[in-house]
Structures are given as structure tokens and as C-alpha cells.
Symmetry: C2
Subunit: 229 residues, 2 copies
Amino acid sequence: MPVTALKAQTVDRVRTVAARLEEEIVLGWLLPRERLVEEELAERLGVKRHVVREALAELERVGLVERIPNRGAVVRLLDPAEVRQIYSVREVLETLAAEQISLPIAPDVLGPLRALQQLHAEAVAAGDARGAFRANIRFHETLFRACGNPHLVELIQGLAQKVHGARSITAASPEHLARARDEHAAMVEALAGGDRGRLVALCRQHLGPSRDAYIAAVEARFLRPGRGS
Amino acid sequence: MPVTALKAQTVDRVRTVAARLEEEIVLGWLLPRERLVEEELAERLGVKRHVVREALAELERVGLVERIPNRGAVVRLLDPAEVRQIYSVREVLETLAAEQISLPIAPDVLGPLRALQQLHAEAVAAGDARGAFRANIRFHETLFRACGNPHLVELIQGLAQKVHGARSITAASPEHLARARDEHAAMVEALAGGDRGRLVALCRQHLGPSRDAYIAAVEARFLRPGRGS
DNA sequence: CCTGCCAAGATTGTTGACAATCATGGCGAC
DNA sequence: GTCGCCATGATTGTCAACAATCTTGGCAGG
């Protein structure tokens, strides 16, 4: 018998549901201010309400969802100022991590990284936003894990997750995906070449575009006076 | 009647229980590897098991408690290597925050800060470890909040919480408490005097002692070969 | 015509009981 | 005497019904 998943533990199902909802938010299936009704989600995702409940609590902690007592959960609209603050911390942390990666990079990091880079490139080529999103996450996780400090990686991932709600703008945009793809390639190159300065610069630049695109989009689309329905 | 707490919302009770358990861990009431039985805690703290359950999940996320499926929760023993990693990130983040505090410090920050510093000093003088712990948390929260980036503050607090389990060594030690008291005074002085370099240096130095004391204590007391019961 | 209140429906929050799982100690086989 | 198995008790995990709360629509009064 397989060692895993003989019986899906609830904690796993919670994680699965949370990840699924996160994806739907990132991919724009669920829009900001959209209500998330527990029973409806439970039925749609084939789990008990209790599981959905915990998943929503998880997403609330992360910041993707807002939960008001007795009123339920809605997809959160990130305030541009907040996004700016998060990105400024991300920049520091990701720079720090990049600086701590021991170069030359170990082959057992570089190999998987190249594989994930290719996976991402293929998803982009196929116009598969979900695949690109997933590959992108795994790429950065693998990259930053090479810094050797799991707690730093955890922080970086947590911050990235916080602004995932801001990704719906760029997650499906061919230009942004292509740009990310090329930047990933450049990062791998810098790693392989042992060029730390370039790597750090690339990591920093990698953050800018989605942040700016989101802020521009939000200010244009959502923050019109009079809380556009 | 007070405006708040007309009815204690469950989410608040969860937080309260989590904070209470955290304190008991920090103050050494609950020792590493000690089992945390849900029903027992529920009765002792006067809440339903469900609330304890969520609180334990919270503490697990934070890292103070370890939860094994179907086997329950135990107070987690922090691995010294992990503690070192966490402290190294803390150092970066707290330095960053200290550097971003706009000087001269605003009076509406300095005032409360001085009050908390005194509260802490009084608790130390009275040998009130719990009071000192609480005042200490509030002091640092107030201090770092002055950096203007709530997300950075959140990260700093989260990391501090992660190593709270390591505080049981120093939380009741008069020497460490006295030292912290003096360093707090010096920080306030540096803030009031607008001396950023001194402030940053103080923040950095402030971290060292409890880290080192914990590592020394753990290596001496808990990590003997043969998992000393 | 507008305002405030009340009832109905929808949704979340809470609880206790039940099921599943795991540690413990006793018993028999070898 | 030791090893392995099974019954038992303790503990956690799951669930569905019930209670509390909020929103919505309608109606009466001004």
C-alpha cells in the first residue's frame, strides 16, 4: 500500500481546500468582495462544512480572505498601500536569502530548479495560468530554500502568499508570464555562473512588475469613489 | 457596562486560551515534551474542548507546540540550531525596523513606551515574571510599530513568538530580567536622543543573551543522548 | 413618499454525542 | 522467560443538529 493518503487526514483536506481556494482567487475565479458561503463551498469541493470553515480561517490568517463574525467570509481586496509595504519587506527578505545562498550552487538544487523553470516555461507557452502559478511557486521555494534558513524561507513564502490576492491581475497576463519566465532563466544562469550580484539584482527586479501592475489596476478598477458595486 | 466583551466571541476566547498556554510555557509551568490533553485543558481553563483545540492549532502554527495526529499535542522542545536560525532572521528584521523608525521619535510613541518601560521595571523589581513578560512584549511591539510597516512588525512578533518556548530559561532569571530592563532604558534614551546608531546596536545586542542562555541550557539539560525522560 | 420596525429566510457559530485511533497491560504460545 | 497478540481505556477526530445572529423584504405610521 502507498505510504501516504491511505486515508486523507482532515488536516490535509483543510490544506487542500485552502490551496484550491487560493488558486481560485489568484486566477481570478473568485473576485474581491465576493462572498464565500461555507455550505456552498463545502458542497462544491466535496467536503464537510467544518473543513471549509478551517480553510477559511487559514486564508484569513494569511490575509487573502476577510472574515466578519456572523457575517461570513469575502475575498479581500488588498489596499495598495499595504501591498507596497509587503513588497518592501519581501524585497529585503528575498535579497537577504539570495545573499546567503552559497555559491557555486549545489547541483542537487540547480537540477530541480532547472526542471521547474522548464515546467514554468511550458505552462506559459501553453497558456496554462494555473500550471504557471504552481510551477512559479515551486521555483521560488526551491530557489530560496538554498539559502539554508528554513525560517527565512517560511517568511518569504508567507509574504508572497499575502499578496497572492494581488496576482489575479498578472497571473493570466501573457506579457507578465513571459517576463517572469525570462527572469527565471536569468536567475538560473546567474546561479550556475556564481554571479551573486546579478542574482540579487534579478530577485529584486523580479518583484516590481506584478506589484506595480496590481497597484495600477486596483486604483483604476476598484478604488473609484462610491465603492463601485 | 464596558463597551467590549459584552459577549466573549469565540475567536477571542481562542486567542485568550492560546495566550494563556503560551504564558504557561514561557514561564516554565508547562515543560517541553509535556502532554497537553484537550479535555483537561478545557476544564482547567473553563472553556469548551473546541476552543482548546483551535488554540492548540494556533500554537502549532506558531511553533510552540507539536501536534501528532490522533496522539495529541506536546510542548515543543526547540532545537538549538533552529533557535540560532530564527534569531539570525530576527536580528535582520529588528535592525531593519529600527532603521526605519523616523527620528526624532514622535511624542505619542515615546510616552507609552516610557510607561511600558516603567511597567516592566516595576515587574522586574517585584520579581513578577509574568508581568515582566507581558510588559516586555508590549514594549517591543510599541517600539517596532514606530517603524511604520505593520507587516514588518507582524513578522518580528511572529518570530519572537516562535522562540518564546526558549524563554522559559531566562524569563524567571533575575539577572536576565535586570539586564533587559537596563537595555530597555538605554533604547528609550537613544530614541529620545535621536541616536539611531545606538538604537540599532542596542536592538541587536538585546537579542543575544536569551538566545545564548537557551542554547547553553538546552544542550546541558535536554539534549543528553538517550532522550533523558 | 419616506422612515422605522418587524418577521422570515439565510448563514454562521456552538454543542454534545459518536466514531476512529492509539497507548497500555494482561494473557497465552513458544 | 520472552515475544507477540488482543482487550481495554484514554484521547483525538468527525459530524449533524441546534442556537444565535445577520440581512432582506414588506408593512404600518408619519
